[in-house]
C-alpha cells in the first residue's frame, strides 16, 4: 500500500499544489485583475484534467480542492466539488483528441476553470449561504477563464510531470517484410 502511494501521482501533486497555492496567496490576493483574484490552483487542476483525462482531473481536483479548503478555512468540500468538476470538464478534451494542440489545451483549461469558478457560488448556495454570488459573476468567470488559458502553456507541462505522463509519441509503423 505504501509503495502504491509513493508511486501514485499524489506524491508529486500535493507539494506542487502547495507551492501554487502559496504563490496564489502571496501574489494574487493583492494584485487583482478588475478586482478579480486569479485562481492558479483551479487553472492547475484544469491543466491536470487536460493532460490526464477526466479521472485524473477529478483526483487532482479532489486533492487540491481539499487542500485549498483546509488552508483557507472554508468548509471542507466547498471548493473540492467545484475543482473536481473543473478537472472532469477539462478532461473531456480526451473525447476529442488524444494529442491536443497547445491552443486546444488552453481552451479546455479555460472551460474547466470557468466551470469550476461558476460552481463555487452554487455550492455555497447549497450549503445555506445567502446570495453568495460575487459582484459580477460573469466578469469573475470570464477573467478566471482567460487567465487560466494564458497559464496553460506553463501548467500543462507541470501537470504532465506531476501525473507522470509522457506526451504521446507517434511511431512510424514497422515495415512489413515479404
Amino acid at each position: 500500500m505504501f509503495a502504491a502511494f509513493v508511486q501514485s501521482s499524489i506524491i508529486r501533486l500535493i507539494p506542487v499544489g502547495m507551492v501554487i497555492l502559496a504563490i496564489q496567496r502571496a501574489l494574487f490576493i493583492e494584485h487583482t485583475v478588475l478586482d478579480v483574484k486569479l485562481q492558479l490552483v483551479l487553472a492547475f487542476v484544469a491543466a491536470c484534467g487536460v493532460v490526464g483525462g477526466s479521472e485524473r482531473g477529478a483526483v487532482a481536483g479532489f486533492s487540491l480542492g481539499t487542500l485549498f479548503d483546509l488552508i483557507e478555512g472554508t468548509p471542507v468540500g466547498s471548493t473540492t466539488i467545484p475543482m473536481l468538476v473543473a478537472g472532469v470538464v477539462a478532461g473531456s478534451l480526451a473525447l476529442i483528441t488524444a494529442d491536443p494542440q497547445w491552443w486546444l489545451s488552453a481552451i479546455f483549461v479555460a472551460l474547466g476553470a470557468a466551470t469550476g469558478e461558476a460552481m463555487m457560488p452554487v455550492v455555497r448556495l447549497f450549503i445555506g449561504e445567502e446570495s453568495p454570488w460575487p459582484r459580477d459573476t460573469a466578469t469573475v468567470v470570464f477573467i478566471v477563464a482567460i487567465s487560466s488559458a494564458a497559464l496553460s502553456p506553463l501548467f500543462v507541462p507541470i501537470a504532465r510531470w506531476c501525473l507522470k505522463l509522457r506526451r504521446a509519441e507517434w511511431v512510424a509503423p514497422a515495415e512489413t517484410v515479404g
Binding site: 502559496a22 490576493i29 477526466s54 481539499t66 485549498f68 483557507e72 468540500g77 457560488p121 450549503i127 445567502e130
Partner: protein, 395 residues
C-alpha cells in the same frame, strides 16, 4: 478504448460523494477535520515562507515601479491633511475626555475600559467570494470568536475563526456579516458632506489647502471625535510622519514640534464643545483654532437597525429601521455606530460609517440605508481586536 468506461465514471462519482460527505461532516463540526486543518496550516507555513522570500523582492520592485507617482501624490496629500488635523486635535481630545467622565459618572459602559490586542494583517481570502483577512494574533493573545476588530478609523469586521497564533476576521462587507447598529439621526442634517466641491490634486478643497498651509486662517469646520482614540491607547504603529510635525507660525516661520504621545491633562486642554454646538476657540502656541460641530446635539435621535454586508464593491446596508418623522428623519450624512446591548458581541459606540444613500421601500419595511465605512478595507495593515466579552457571558 472506452474513454468513459464504467470504472472511470465510478471513480469520479466516488470522489464527488466523498466531497459531499466531507462537507456535511465539516458543517456539522468535526474535531478530526479541525485537527487536520491545523496540521495542514502548519505544513503550509514553510512553503508560504519560502514563496514569500522569493516573491517579495519581485513584488516590491513591481510596486515601486507602478505606484511611485501615486505614492508621491498620496504622501503630499497626507502631509497636508495631517497639518490640518493637528489644529483640531486638542479640542477633540478634550471632548473625548469629557465624554469619558460623563460616562463614568453615569456608570455607563465605555470603550476605554476594554482591553485590545494589536494584530497585523498577514493574509486574505484567496477566492472571489469571501471577504476575510487573517491576522497574526490568536487564542494565545486572548482573541475569541465573535470579537469586533477595528482600526483607527472604525469597525473593520469580526473574528470568525481562531487558531493559537492567528485568527480570521470577516470584514464588514462580507455578505454573511451582520451587526446591530445605531444611526444618529440628525447628524447629517446640517451639512451635506457629499455635495460636489472643487478639489485640488490632493483631494482637498482650495480652502482646506489654505487652512493646511496657514492654520491661523482656519475656518470653523466639523470635528469628529473618535472614541477609538481612547480604546487601548496609542498602541498602533505610528506613521513615519508622526515623529516630527512641521507647522507654520503666523509670521511664516516653520516650527517643528513633537506629536503628543499621551492624552494631555484636562486643565491643559481647551474647553470642551458645548452642547449647543457653539464654536470653541482654542490656542495652541501662537496658532488659534476654531472648532464647531455642524449640528444641534439636542436634536439627535438614535434609531436602531441591522448592518449587513453586501459583498465586495458594494456598500453595506442598514435595514430593520422604523423611520419616525416625529423624532428624526434618517438621511444622508447621518453617523452610524455599533449599538451594543446585553447579547451583542460588540460594545456600543464603535464608529462604523456614514449614511450615503437612503432607499425608501413600499409598505412597513422602513427605509434601507447604504453606509460608507470610515475604515478603508482596501488598506488594512494593523488592526486592533477588541477583547470584549458580552454582558450576558460576563454575567
Amino acid at each position: 478504448m472506452a474513454i468513459y468506461s464504467v470504472g472511470r465514471r465510478r471513480i469520479v462519482i466516488v470522489l464527488l460523494l466523498t466531497s459531499v460527505l466531507l462537507l456535511t461532516l465539516d458543517l456539522r463540526g468535526s474535531a478530526v477535520l479541525d485537527r487536520v486543518r491545523d496540521v495542514a496550516a502548519v505544513s503550509m507555513t514553510p512553503v508560504e515562507t519560502a514563496v514569500d522570500v522569493v516573491t517579495s523582492p519581485v513584488e516590491r520592485a513591481w510596486e515601486s515601479y507602478t505606484n511611485y507617482d501615486e505614492l508621491e501624490r498620496e504622501n503630499e496629500a497626507l502631509r497636508e491633511r495631517l497639518a490640518r488635523i493637528e489644529g483640531s486635535q486638542a479640542a477633540a481630545e478634550a471632548a473625548i475626555i469629557d465624554a469619558q467622565r460623563i460616562r463614568e459618572l453615569n456608570e455607563l459602559p465605555s470603550l476605554a475600559g476594554i482591553p485590545t490586542a494589536v494584530a497585523e494583517v498577514v493574509g486574505a481570502s484567496a477566492n472571489n467570494l469571501d471577504q476575510i483577512v487573517e491576522i497574526n494574533k490568536g487564542s494565545l493573545a486572548g482573541v475569541r470568536v465573535g470579537q469586533p476588530v477595528v482600526n483607527q478609523a472604525g469597525l473593520v469586521g469580526r473574528v470568525t475563526q481562531v487558531f493559537p497564533t492567528s485568527a480570521q476576521v470577516m470584514l464588514v462587507i462580507d455578505r454573511r456579516f451582520t451587526i446591530a447598529v445605531e444611526i444618529l439621526g440628525g447628524t447629517g442634517a446640517a451639512a451635506d458632506p457629499f455635495a460636489p466641491v472643487d478639489t485640488t490634486l490632493s483631494g482637498l478643497t482650495p480652502d482646506e489647502l489654505n487652512d493646511a498651509v496657514n492654520p491661523t486662517a482656519a475656518e470653523p469646520g466639523p470635528v469628529i471625535t473618535n472614541p477609538l482614540d481612547v480604546l487601548g491607547g496609542n498602541d498602533l504603529p505610528q506613521s513615519p510622519l508622526s515623529p516630527a510635525v512641521t507647522t507654520t507660525t503666523p509670521s511664516g516661520e516653520p516650527v517643528e514640534t513633537a506629536p503628543p504621545t499621551t492624552v494631555p491633562r484636562p486643565e491643559d486642554l481647551p474647553p470642551a464643545i458645548p452642547a449647543n454646538g457653539a464654536p470653541v476657540q482654542s490656542r495652541t502656541g501662537d496658532a488659534t483654532t476654531t472648532t464647531s460641530i455642524p449640528f444641534e446635539i439636542s436634536s439627535i435621535e438614535k434609531e436602531f437597525g441591522a448592518l449587513k454586508g453586501d459583498g465586495q464593491g458594494k456598500l453595506p446596508k442598514v435595514s430593520l429601521l422604523q423611520d419616525n418623522p416625529s423624532l428624526s428623519i434618517l438621511q444622508e450624512g447621518d453617523l452610524v455606530a455599533t449599538a451594543g446591548g446585553s447579547g451583542s458581541l460588540a460594545p456600543p459606540d464603535i464608529p462604523v460609517g456614514r449614511v450615503v444613500n437612503r432607499i425608501d421601500r413600499p409598505g412597513v419595511g422602513g427605509p434601507v440605508l447604504e453606509v460608507e465605512l470610515f475604515a478603508d478595507l482596501e488598506q488594512l495593515g494593523f488592526l486592533r481586536v477588541v477583547l470584549f466579552q458580552p454582558a450576558e457571558e460576563a454575567g
